[in-house]
Point group: none
Chain length 401, copies 2
């Protein structure tokens, strides 16, 4: 029986509240000089205090050894099997900028890029053009018309945009045109299934027209497309777990994945402190809060060990505002690790602490990867976390007689 079907059959209503604090990419690796990870380096008295009262463990976002993207790793945090519920970047980006996708819409991410006279890519991000320039370019492309099809084009940030195709029998199983390298031409769109031929042709025509209209522009004289996906809405957190849920996040991607599973995105926070303030203001309105901190991941991706440590310490300083609200369940974890030494997402297990009145505290003294490895939650797939949080919130009834 499907894991989510079981949870749905066991979910019961309750007054309890759950806060899931995601420090994106917080899991790390030891710095070469000190031998300590980012979490081991940071001074985190409040997280440590919470860890002492919590159950701790390590989680595999997808499966051991797999490095996840942000979409699947967040779906796993919300209880979805990330190998079953696959959502493309295009769909997440569209949701993230507030575009209301309809079922069967096909969305894709666009990068404005630079090609030379021979059509070879010289810059995959067109020198990271400004968002204003992006908006101007989008107006040039947004009235591209094709028969029996609606096309929506939306700027995101810098060189990034989203395109949505709405029509009959569209397929999202298409290959990227972004070759992820320079000195080569963009790839052709290929269908991954036989039904995708028509959509691939449509996309190729769209790209040809866009290329024509951008020919006189510089540096953004081409578009690259990736993350094609057809939107098939998964069951929501309300439907599955009877949770009225809210997301507090600053970046489109995370707002997107939250909306995808039926959360309301609340607040207009532009800093971590403001995110915590939104949590406090709206705490009485929802059962479940997903508070997303992006900056740990950004610092990791930039290879900036010190900045990542500083972000962790900033969050630690704000934590008492969260605990003061006395949620029934507090989970602190990450969607995946982003070690500064790797400058990228990684496969390393995610440290997790779960606090509730009914958790079994395991005597961990500090919230770090190596201490969590000794915790009584052991090592488990991230997609099991939600069941554990619901159980601790007394929101699941007994399985079987």
């Amino acid at each position: 029986m499907d894991h989510l079907k079981i949870l749905k059959s066991l979910a019961i209503p309750a007054e309890s509240k759950i806060v899931l604090l995601v420090l994106d990419g917080v899991g790390g690796l030891p710095d070469k000089t000190s031998g300590r990870t980012e979490l081991e380096t940071a001074s985190t008295p409040n997280l440590d205090e919470l860890a002492k009262k919590s159950s701790c463990g390590l989680m595999d976002p997808i499966s051991m050894g797999l490095t996840p993207g942000s979409g699947p790793s967040h779906l796993a945090l919300f209880g979805y099997d990330p190998l079953k519920y696959q959502v493309g970047r295009g769909v997440l980006e569209a949701f993230g900028i507030g575009f209301e996708l309809g079922p069967s819409d096909v969305a894709a991410r666009i990068n404005f890029a630079t090609i030379d006279d021979e059509g070879l890519i010289t810059d995959r991000r067109a020198g990271r053009i400004s968002t204003e320039e992006n908006e101007r370019l989008c107006t040039l492309l947004k009235d591209i018309r094709m028969p029996a099809l609606e096309i929506f084009l939306r700027p995101v940030k810098e060189h990034r945009a989203v395109v949505v195709f709405r029509g009959q029998n569209l397929s999202g199983a298409l290959t990227d045109t972004d070759p992820q390298q320079l000195g080569v031409p963009p790839k052709e769109v290929q269908p991954l299934t036989p039904e995708g031929h028509g959509t691939a042709k449509i996309v190729e025509e769209f790209i040809a027209e866009a290329k024509k209209r951008l020919a006189v522009e510089h540096p953004a004289n081409m578009i690259l497309m990736r993350g094609f996906d057809r939107y098939e809405p998964p069951p929501s957190l309300q439907e599955l777990y009877l949770l009225k849920s809210a997301a507090i996040a600053m970046y489109p991607m995370y707002k997107g994945v939250a909306k995808l599973v039926g959360m309301e995105v609340i607040g207009e926070a532009t800093s971590i402190a403001e995110e915590f303030a939104v949590l406090t203001e709206r705490f009485s309105d929802y059962d479940f809060f997903f508070l997303h901190v992006k900056q740990t991941d950004s610092a990791g991706e930039d290879g900036d060990f010190r900045r990542k440590v500083a972000v962790i310490e900033e969050v630690d300083g704000l934590l008492p505002q969260l605990t003061a609200l006395k949620p029934d369940v507090i989970v602190v974890t990450c969607d995946h690790s982003t070690p500064a030494v790797l400058r990228s997402h990684s496969w390393h297990a995610a440290p997790v602490l779960l606090y509730s009145k009914y958790c079994r505290p395991d005597g961990i003294e500090t919230f770090t990867e190596r201490e969590c490895a000794k915790g009584c939650l052991g090592r488990f797939p991230t997609r099991n976390l939600m069941a554990l949080a619901l159980a601790n919130a007394l929101r699941l009834t007994k399985y079987g007689a």
Copy 2:
């Protein structure tokens, strides 16, 4: 390939003996004052001595966060995937009282209850009538006849009875009539699948006739039914593992689940000491012994921390009788946790120790939840325990060449 099919293909005969000692619900949570769990509070020199020579770990009965009923959690202990082999309370109760169910029989649990003049339930247990009164009421109902159907009615204890329907094409996929609350009428039986309509109608007629016959009685003037289930016998321990197996248990439910998987229920023990005596007396007769101690769970469900501690200490005092028999493999664990502070089964992982001459001792000094969390068995699903026990009994051959 199915886990059980693999085990079956690898099982080999041997002279070795395995004892599985189940302290039902022994896993707990810290007492608020002392900060120690029931196992941490109890003085258990013999269990601790055994733990030092054993491999320890924590087990999830069904899946992380799920609180199991006794049926699925015991099936998992015996190696069955509890999400695949689902057995209803009715079937377990029927087995527990020694009723020989045939394949495709549908069994259900009956509670004698009290309804008022308007048909609303005022007591779901009819004031817990005596077993004698139950037996008298069952004789009033046991000759209810219906076409092409045999009906068997058996008293269990106090207000509880079991009914078995035997006939062609019966379905066990029916909803309970017990609404689990007072002041409302019993629910109608609803089929959960289209094939269940006929059986639902039969059960409704049975209930209507029972209601008529009980109308003059007090307080038991109605019956409530739940746990409908069609008996589909799973493969036995003999068939799967080549084990001649015996169960030593005091309560119907556990005798029931043991018989379901082909164990012989031995002895007539009425105390834990007598259960250990039965083990000693019959030790030469079987390969595998399931010794079930119910009292840890009962104390937990009553919220009686001290009594649970006392039961643990009582078992510890009896343990030398078990070790003196020198079984090749000794497993001590629970089917699920029943923390006194929660007064119910819970989702918390089950501590387990496994002793054999060939286990890898992990240096755990005391048999407690938090020590087991450090054990070298790690955290694993309960359904894997049986393979581990068989392996340590040198009863499994190599997988693959």
